[in-house]
């Protein structure tokens, strides 16, 4: 048995006592309106000078009750809502949801649909990582990467726009496959993007990887061990940077991931710098996956035979995918009607954010910003 308070502090936030001014301890709020908290996250910091003694996250400012909404919509109607959780990786959300419902209905998307899904999801992973790097670097004080990364992310959004008309909340997939056939020149566009993006990733690395300021601000900052990651349920690049070679795309392959060859990069120190390196390598691996997928994309239908009214048999299902931020899962309970009886989203950002407290304890206030950035949270998904 472990003491849970060693992982997550419990701040006593009463009225300040009389000796308040004599004490060195200070309790301050960071957020909810703070540009570096990536949304409406409020962190209560207990400080001793510049040193962080403990933190408490106050979340829920963006709570929209997605799980309640799901119970009042049909399976098809709920599909666009999932895009609004992690809005920088909307395609991944949609993939996880569609696959979960397909499993519940016992149908399978056709191979061509799976390849289209794989290509769009990997493009989305790149877009998500690009946005992460741009904002993370900006938080730490490097302004240039933001412009480079937003410029290059635009190319991905253009492909999305040409494919389905939307750039951010794409609603790209349907239960049973994809709604749209690829447009004329889709493969060429993806190939062009891969050729375009590869040297760009090297370019970002020349800006940061050996940059003295970047090294000072990220090396040894926000360290977390593999054992602590597992205890706290942390997944995604954060877990891998601590040395655990675990990726749901390999562990439980979905879509067409079993057909493509790629490496799962891992780190050794579990610090902010390693997480940066892991994500950079992941971007390169995504390009590799894209290259193979475009060359192999089969002909055929893009929709499975799906009834007009979806009524999954009574039962429960849990399905999860490797979203850019970690394990994104859907737990769906069906009562045999057209609406989910209960739909639970297992959000990677929410669970990963729990690790913030452990990662910043005994570090400086400035490092809290770096750690929030490196956790790569999206508040739309934390609060749902």
């Amino acid at each position: 048995m472990t003491d849970p308070t060693t992982y997550i502090s419990h701040l006593e936030l009463g009225e300040p006592d009389k000796t308040y001014l004599d004490s060195n301890e200070l309790i301050i709020n960071m957020g909810p309106q703070h540009p570096a908290t990536h949304g409406v996250l409020r962190v209560i910091l207990k400080l001793d000078g510049e040193k962080v003694l403990g933190t408490e996250c106050v979340i829920g400012y963006l709570h929209r009750g997605v799980e309640k909404i799901a119970e009042h919509r049909t399976y098809t109607m709920f599909n666009p809502y999932v895009d609004r959780m992690d809005y920088v990786a909307a395609v991944s959300n949609g993939l996880g949801y569609c696959e979960a419902v397909e499993k519940l209905l016992n149908i399978e998307a056709p191979p061509r649909a799976n390849y289209i899904r794989l290509i769009l999801t990997e493009l989305n992973r790149l877009a998500s990582h690009q946005l992460w790097l741009g904002t993370h670097a900006l938080d730490i004080g490097a302004i240039t990467p933001l412009f480079y990364l937003f410029r290059d992310r635009e190319e991905i959004l253009k492909i999305f726009e040409r494919y389905c008309g939307a750039r951010l909340t794409t609603h790209a997939f349907r239960i049973g496959g994809c709604q749209y056939e690829t447009y004329e020149g889709f493969e060429r566009d993806v190939e062009k993007f891969v050729a375009f993006a590869r040297p760009k990733i090297d370019e970002y690395e020349t800006l940061l990887t050996t940059n003295r300021i970047w090294l000072e601000r990220t090396r040894g900052i926000g360290k977390i061990s593999a054992a602590d990651c597992k205890a706290l349920g942390v997944t995604g690049p954060v877990l891998r940077a601590s040395g655990v070679k675990w990726d749901l795309r390999k562990a439980k392959p979905y879509a067409a991931y079993a057909d493509v060859d790629f490496e799962v990069p891992i780190g050794t120190n579990g610090d902010t710098y390693d997480r940066y390196l892991v994500r950079m390598e992941e971007m390169r691996q995504s390009l590799r996956i894209l290259e193979q997928a475009v060359a192999k994309i089969p002909e055929g239908p893009i929709m499975a035979k799906v009834p007009k009214v979806l009524k999954p048999p009574v039962g429960e299902i849990y399905h999860s995918i490797e979203a850019p931020k970690g394990e994104l899962g859907y737990f769906i309970v069906s009562d045999g009607s057209t609406q989910p009886y209960r739909l639970r989203v297992r959000p990677p950002s929410f669970v990963n954010l729990q690790a913030l407290d452990l990662m910043v304890r005994d570090q400086l206030v400035a490092d809290v910003i770096a750690v929030i950035g490196t956790l790569d949270i999206v508040l739309g998904e934390v609060d749902r």
């Binding site: 997550i8 419990h10 499993k103 706290l232 349920g233 439980k252």
Partner: protein, 159 residues
């Protein structure tokens, strides 16, 4: 694995089965938290993926509480479900998997199920003085704590 657990706990494990290739156990709430500890230590389920609940208002034991567990060593998932009545509390599992800290708080926030021994049992997504637990089936989709909205937001209704 389920056979050995059944042998040890007998009727405490009401059901152990597979649906659509996914294993699940339905266990008596009196076996918690020992059973969860055994699953972690003996069966290597070292990662608690998720903890959630489902409300069935017409049943005697109104709530299903579900743990989704994963084993890195075996690459295997299992769901553990227990059924409890409205107003009953469950022992916390934060000392088994610290990740359930926020997850238990969310279950409390949304369903009103308390976890005894939790270091900080309070709401997480909704304001602390909010009344009602929205994911219960008897809570309407446009229902809200009007008093809270009126006092804190200064408007008649948030709708």
């Amino acid at each position: 694995m389920t056979a050995s657990l059944k042998g040890r706990y007998g009727s405490g494990i009401a059901e152990s089965s597979t649906y659509l290739g996914q294993n699940y156990l339905i266990v008596d709430s009196s076996l918690l938290p020992e059973l969860l500890l055994i699953l972690r230590d003996e069966q290597q389920f070292d990662y608690c993926v998720d903890l959630t609940a489902v409300h069935y208002p017409h049943r005697d034991k109104q709530f299903d509480v579900v743990w989704i567990l994963y084993s890195f060593a075996k690459n295997e998932r299992i769901r553990v479900t227990t059924r409890i009545a409205d107003g009953a509390a469950l022992p916390t599992s934060t000392s088994i998997w610290p990740t359930t800290n926020w997850l238990e708080r969310e279950v409390f926030d949304m369903f009103g199920i308390r976890f005894e021994g939790h270091p900080d049992m309070k709401r997480i997504l909704l304001p602390e003085d909010w009344k009602g637990h929205p994911l219960r089936k008897d809570y309407g989709i446009i229902q809200q704590d009007e008093e809270w909205v009126h006092i804190n937001l200064g408007i008649e209704s948030g709708q």
